[in-house]
């Protein structure tokens, strides 16, 4: 149980972090580029959502395995498969939650507008500088929403994790699988308990984030 909780938090945090690093710039690009390529990428990003999680997991299982496209690269580092490992879970979760980070972030950036970037450019702020000092703070609402959705979704997600994880205690057995198992075994009491705990925890995390964001927004805006 404790192991599962710790693992879940690690997975959700790491996934959210990676999504921030990957998804936020992607959202930024998609907000500013109006070309057809950007539109296509934008639609592609949403696609993982369309597949049932277990099915996505199934494809990941094939993709990350010894017969998958990554296999030669992995073999070089002595790894046979990314399945049944924590890194594998992270990859699956990141892919699956990508749209939840990218789309709100993109909207946030779309709201920033040319004006602010122009003002920043005339004050000698280069593209990277502008991104961090102007775009990101002004698009904060969208980015925070993306992070909350990603975090919550990774906690609850279990189809992908189930499929590529192999339910190894301490490695890939997260809380959502534990709850699922409890329901499956007819141990409804345990399921209720874990669900209640998870909900309470998530509620506190999300509410706190929302309030901090609002406070920050209220002060500066």
């Amino acid at each position: 149980m404790v192991e599962a909780i710790v693992l879940t938090l690690q997975l959700a945090s790491l996934t959210t972090l990676i999504l921030l690093i990957v998804g936020v710039p992607l959202g930024f690009w998609l907000a500013r580029d109006t070309g057809i390529i950007a539109s296509v990428v934008s639609a592609l990003v949403a696609l993982p959502l369309v597949l049932p999680p277990t099915v996505l997991g199934f494809y990941l299982l094939i993709g990350l395995g010894p017969n998958g496209p990554l296999a030669p690269m992995l073999a070089a580092t002595g790894i046979r498969t990314l399945a049944f490992s924590f890194p594998g879970l992270v990859i699956g979760s990141v892919l699956f939650s990508l749209p939840f980070m990218v789309q709100p972030a993109r909207n946030g950036f779309a709201g920033v507008g040319r004006e602010a970037f122009e003002a920043a450019a005339t004050l000698r702020a280069g593209p990277l500088d502008s991104f961090f000092s102007v775009a990101l703070p002004l698009a904060r609402g969208g980015v925070v929403t993306g992070a909350i959705l990603s975090f919550a979704h990774t906690i609850g997600e279990f189809g992908v994790v189930l499929m590529i994880g192999g339910n190894i205690p301490g490695e890939t057995r997260v809380l959502s699988i534990a709850i699922f198992d409890a329901v499956e075994q007819g141990d409804w009491g345990a399921a209720h308990q874990m669900s209640a705990g998870l909900l309470a925890f998530a509620f506190v995390v999300i509410l706190t984030t929302t309030l901090i964001e609002k406070r920050a927004g209220g002060r500066a805006r």
Partner: protein
């Protein structure tokens, strides 16, 4: 719309479909097969799911349904016996014995979840009997269902795994060790009637136990309970 709704454990989905077609050809009664995990089906039935029959993957849940009054007393019977095999897509790996399990020539052994799936529990019994339970603990990966365990092996992520012999049909080659039945308690897949007055349901269950039905079940690699006479209807 269908005349008869049958809940079927996911691993028995394909044979159930064929049974349904054969049954319809014979009687004209159309059967809708709904698959799901045994746990989910159990929860659904206790919440009033409109199924007339449950073909479970175990014997515990049908019994529990009878005990709780959701199923007809005395209607429970074993329609198929699960057969466990150790399988690898690698034709060289298994030499028709469990010897491979004592080597380190593999990093992952896939089984179904022993807590929720009878095949998983049986696999653990086998490992216990071989005295490898402890030693292999860190190399075991658990699929939520026997289908997932199969997927782990089929995709090559686990080198070998305990699967149902019914899955060998889709496996396509490789090497196997057929697990002797003495090494684990029989994997009984039980059927139970959920709607007492449903004659179509009774007819389907009778069909399942008929020689024609048993033939189909056996075709898919399941074992059968010995019977001396062709099943008389137990419903009178």
């Amino acid at each position: 719309a269908a005349d008869l709704r049958v809940a079927v454990a996911a691993n028995f989905g394909a044979p159930a479909q064929q049974l349904a077609e054969a049954f319809e050809a014979e009687t004209g009664t159309r059967v809708a097969i709904s698959t799901g995990s045994s746990g989910a089906l159990f929860a659904q039935i206790t919440q009033g799911a409109p199924f007339a029959i449950l073909l479970s993957a175990d014997e515990a849940r049908p019994k529990a349904l009878v005990d709780q009054g959701f199923a007809v007393k005395g209607s429970q019977f074993t329609y198929a016996l699960g057969r466990l095999v150790l399988w690898s897509p690698d034709a060289e790996l298994i030499d028709s014995s469990p010897a491979i399990l004592e080597t380190d020539r593999f990093s992952h052994l896939a089984i179904a979840n022993p807590q929720t799936a009878p095949y998983g529990a049986a696999a653990m019994e086998v490992l216990g009997a071989l005295g490898l339970e402890e030693e292999l603990a860190v190399r075991i990966v658990t699929g939520e269902s026997i289908a997932q365990a199969f997927g782990f092996v089929q995709s090559g992520n686990a080198e070998l795994g305990f699967i149902a012999s019914s899955q060998l049909a889709t496996a396509g080659g490789g090497s196997i060790w057929i697990v002797p039945e003495e090494l684990h308690a029989p994997i009984r897949q039980d059927a139970v009637l959920l709607e007492a007055g449903n004659d179509d349901a009774k007819a389907f269950l009778d069909f399942l136990r008929s020689s024609k039905g048993r033939e189909i079940v056996a075709q898919f690699g399941y074992g059968l309970v010995e019977t001396t006479q062709p099943a008389p209807s137990i419903y009178g």
